[in-house]
Symmetry: C3
Subunit: 172 residues, 3 copies
């Protein structure tokens, strides 16, 4: 409960809530950008030196860095996004992200904010009627404020599914 | 962070959070009404002149208004809900909604609030053991305050799955 | 909107929001404990006299108490968790919870807080590539504050899926 004798403690709780909400809103916008194929918007959600990787849970558990996608800065993230768009190497499909179970772990000494969330990506291939679970996993994140804007300085997507289909290289 | 020099700015952020929470709670109650087959409760969540439609992503992308369900007011929504209940035209099943990734876009000049959210409907047929993804998609919404109560003035359900099974006409 | 003339009403709304957030964070931590197989952490999220059961929707609707799992206190919950770990009676798999649609119903006379949430558990078997819906359902909960810590005094997991596979006895 709010405690009139400890306004500073109340403020801290409200601030934690506002930060949680801000990251939640970020994740909803992130999902919408990918689901609507707005890849430029998606790329702009990362810092210039952002780390972005998609790694199997099996490899992550063993600290193996090998992943489906491995980007060490925004340029590599951009290339990855638009290489995909140009080659159209995969069957046409709809994707739909649901991001839930957000946990925000507070700030590091440099101000970066650690967080994690579970994600589910559902896919509908144009030539197959059924929606399928394309990928499920966890985002391990580091958020950073650039000016007034929250960006991802790091997103490691660790997926549970051991095999993925011919679209394995799409960003999630 | 909360800024003691700008109490009005703090209040705006807290108000945005309260509104987000209110719509989130609305969506949870909406899902529960459908999942528990409380269709009268479901109908009451719309304004008298509400627009409610269930449209494929394919048609929505081409601005085709053709949909599985198309209701231009609460009377039509009521009819749709209870036509279903009376005819029992579909195999008995359980449904379970998960609504996530809520985005609230602020108020229009008339006070209506635009929002969107992703939805997943999981179905369990009584004679088949496995839970299946029945429908995934996006709610594009316009909320309106009627007295103290938040209602839907518009909900367009745009689904990704291209085919749906024999229950295609159930509200989502 | 916040109303400067009614600070007490504003505070009540903010308090409801903080409580909702606290339970939401609890559920995210609960899911993470199970997904990461940290079963000791999971057991510690219950009160000593906690009731924990996993029941089919069919039986719950008929008020039949028969369930897959039925624990009347923390000792039984502990036994259930670690019996599982010792026997390894099921094929190795990854699990991933998504908990959404949280509804918080306010406090009972003794201070316990009633809440509910929908859950989806996705499973990936090590020897099968596809992620599958393992279980979907609802948590019907009673939370209690023990010192400063929120714990579950009761969690009834009511699942929609009528059949479950050989892992039917895992906690969810």
């Amino acid at each position: 409960m709010l405690d009139a004798r400890h306004p500073a403690a109340n403020d801290r709780r409200i601030e934690a809530l506002l930060l949680h909400h801000e990251i939640d809103a970020f994740n909803a916008a992130y999902a919408a950008a990918l689901d609507e194929q707005r890849l430029t918007d998606w790329v702009e959600m990362f810092t210039d030196d952002a780390f972005y990787a998609v790694i199997s849970r099996e490899n992550a558990d063993r600290d193996l860095p090998v992943g489906l996608i491995y980007c060490e800065n925004k340029g590599m993230i951009f290339d990855r996004a638009f290489a995909l768009e140009k080659t159209a190497m995969f069957a046409p499909r709809y994707l739909r992200h649901v991001i839930g179970n957000l946990q925000v772990f507070g700030a590091e000494p440099n101000g970066d904010i650690r967080a994690r969330a579970n994600y589910v990506v559902v896919q509908v291939l144009f030539d197959r009627p059924e929606a399928k679970l394309h990928q499920v996993g966890v985002y391990y994140d580091k958020f950073r404020r650039v000016g007034d804007v929250l960006k991802l300085a790091e997103r490691r997507c660790v997926y549970d599914s051991l095999l993925v289909d011919n679209a394995l290289c799409i960003p999630v």
